[in-house]
């Protein structure tokens, strides 16, 4: 549904912008259209700035980040969809630009590693809990010999009093 909306939206943008800005394409300033700006920022917040690796392209003040923001705006004006813009970025900078890495064999450990650790930890916890329970059970259960001695001791006690 969202996809459909995006497509229709992109198509409309293409029509509107394609017509209205045709004579002055180059002169179009980056921040003029709030809709384009908002869409650019949404994309920029999921792209990593490669110069300062723990910032998004939206956050970073690096030259490259602002170039890429401009590039996104330009691609939007060209009528590209969000996924086409993402492809444009990964073709050039690799999956590393994506803050949400794609799921594939080389990233399986990344995606499921934490789950694997939880499973291993859970199994270890379960085993140690069982061990402890067994130890406690061993200690509370009396052997026949112990029971006889205990009975003897208790009987003596009661008869003495």
């Amino acid at each position: 549904m969202q996809m459909m909306k995006n497509l229709i939206f992109a198509g409309l943008m293409f029509l509107v912008l394609g017509v209205s800005t045709a004579p002055a394409k180059e002169a179009l300033p980056v921040g003029d259209d709030p809709v384009v700006q908002a869409r650019m920022m949404r994309l920029a917040t999921v792209l990593r700035c490669l110069v300062c690796q723990n910032q998004t392209i939206a956050d970073s003040h690096a030259d490259l980040a602002s170039d890429l923001r401009n590039q996104i705006v330009e691609l939007i004006h060209q009528g590209k969809t969000d996924s086409e813009i993402m492809d444009y970025m990964t073709e050039r900078y690799g999956d590393f630009v994506l803050y949400r890495p794609p799921m594939k064999t080389s990233t399986l450990l990344l995606w499921f590693g934490p789950l694997l650790l939880v499973v291993i930890g859970g199994a270890a916890l379960y085993r140690s809990a069982q061990d402890r329970q067994r130890n406690v059970a061993d200690e509370t259960e009396l052997t026949l010999e112990q029971k006889r001695l205990a009975d003897q001791f208790l009987n003596r006690k009661s008869s003495e009093s």
């Binding site: 110069v51 690796q53 170039d67 890429l68 990964t90 073709e91 050039r92 900078y93 690799g94 590393f96």
Partner: protein
Amino acid sequence: MSRFWPLAIFFGLVAFLYVGLHRDPHEVPSPLLGKPAPAFALTRLDDPSTTITRDQLLGHVYMLNVWASWCVSCRDEHPILVEYVRKHPVEIYGLDYKDTRPEAVAWLEQLGNPYKAALFDSDGRVGIDYGVYGVPETFIIDKKGVVRYKQTGPISPDVLMNTLAPMIENLQKES
């Protein structure tokens, strides 16, 4: 037996962290490796009226060295390239990234010009197509126009002699 587990886990962790210490997170593998070099048509730095395109360079093995006059570590790398090109039959093209012509020209006059031609990428558009994020960067492109190697950051003499030079020689033998 189970009392050795914490020790084993500890050493496992140490091994992981030790390997991690020696890895450079700034070295991002380029998605361009093994793919055709992105097309470009740029003017020569020393002659704005002459354009050089990627397709004109097909059939040659060349290094594409991304540099700029504002780039500090390019200063370390530059003499190594000047020396290399003086002694070896190799073609190096410069990609002058987000620079101004007068500054770049002066820089080459001062430090020497190892380039067969320097291409002027004033707005960094070609840089984006090549996934440039840390100047200097160097690509090796084979006769078919395929990117075979990418180095991010300055080339050290060691990398040049042990990795790049042998690779270029091999590629030059390919038909």
